[in-house]
Symmetry: C2
């Protein structure tokens, strides 16, 4: 005979979409609703969530990996997702004759703008994040476009990557640091403690988004209190995996 | 019968004056040697070392706490020591008709200039050091003169002092940090780890001087290796007490 025990299930109070993603999904749906005659393309998955992508497809909103030539009679819209995009991508969209709707998350936009500001003020820029992640790729592309030389921008997803360029770092007069919005604060702290004794001037913009911080802290507390924790999210999402 | 054991005495390889102090002492002596007819005043102890002060007195170089009216027929020189001085002090020296010789240590001058640069770029400035120490007082005075408001400059000699103004710090868009040249790197690290989660943008200029870092690291190693360690220096000196 199996014994029946009571189970408590706790839901994180900040579970669900963050405001940047919510804004992107709602705006995309509204655009289709307001202009059903227009073709709407999203460049890359709007969010890393296959159910949402399916829902958008059902509404006739297409997710594409690269933007097709615009051969349609009616006007077409191309959406930049919350992760942002490079200047070259913005150019391509306009050159192909698409209307552009930029749904880059305001927090990601801030990270991009701060990265540009730092390289323009003469900093060697370190972006802390996953080099392959579209948000990081867009921050990097924007920073490289603003920099005098591509040697001034470096992406690191762990301290070892930075240790390999220690000699280059030591030569810099000013070092700027921005962070992928979904990184862990502990990683930023670890990097700073390492950078501090070997650098003259450090400019750190803590671009980790408030939503992410809240969720990570809550996840930690829940994990400590619980016997089993289930994180619901795509394996492609930085929010799920960190 | 007492047993005779062999004792090893190790001398720190970086013991002795740092270059800023050496430069101040040598220049002061040279000035008197070149112009024996001139009265030479040093505003505050040139360095925290009573033997050197005595030696200067014997040469006729006077240490004064405040600058007397210049009633001498022959010209008089006033020396700014390696700790630096406020803009008001520089003014006073000129107004009283003294020739001015500025022997502020170049590393201290850098800390002053960086403090000015940070407040001018809109930072709330935190100076990490002893509020009563003349070097810190001079950095603070220079920064306050450059700031729009005196509320933008804060001196902290421990993390508790910063915790008391946590609400003010949280409101700041940009925070600048400079450090008294003789502070410990561990203190700077501790402050940054505390500041990081509660601030948006941090500009840290590591103004701890290389000489100080070397000596502190060497002192640590020697202390670990030795049964007894003797630090020779004035109790007034930050170098001796840290």
């Amino acid at each position: 005979m199996t014994q029946i025990t009571q189970k408590n299930i706790k839901l994180a109070s900040h579970a669900g979409f963050c405001y940047g993603v919510k804004r992107a999904v709602e705006t995309t749906k509204r655009l289709k609703c307001e202009s059903p005659e227009k073709n709407i393309y999203v460049l890359g998955e709007l969010i890393h969530n296959s159910q949402v992508i399916k829902e958008l497809e059902d509404l006739g909103i297409l997710t594409v990996e690269s933007l097709p030539e615009n051969t349609q009679q009616s006007s077409s819209i191309c959406i930049i997702r919350s992760h942002g995009a490079s200047g070259a991508t913005f150019e391509e969209i306009k050159n192909k004759g698409y209307e552009l709707t930029d749904l880059t998350c305001p927090d990601v936009k801030k990270a991009q703008n701060k990265a540009i500001e730092l390289v323009r003020s003469g900093c060697f820029l370190i972006i802390l994040g996953e080099p392959q992640h579209p948000e990081v790729a867009a921050i990097e592309a924007n920073a490289r476009q603003a920099a005098f030389s591509s040697d001034e921008v470096f992406v690191a997803n762990n301290i070892e990557a930075l240790q390999r360029i220690e000699d280059i770092i030591k030569k810099q007069e000013k070092i700027g640091v921005v962070v992928q919005t979904t990184q862990r604060l502990e990683y930023l702290k670890e990097v700073l403690n390492w950078l501090l004794p070997i650098s003259r001037e450090l400019r750190i913009v803590n671009t980790i988004c408030a939503s992410t911080s809240l969720r990570m802290n809550e996840a930690k507390v829940l994990a400590e209190e619980s016997d089993l924790m289930i994180v619901v999210g795509s394996k492609k999402s930085a929010n799920t995996t960190h």
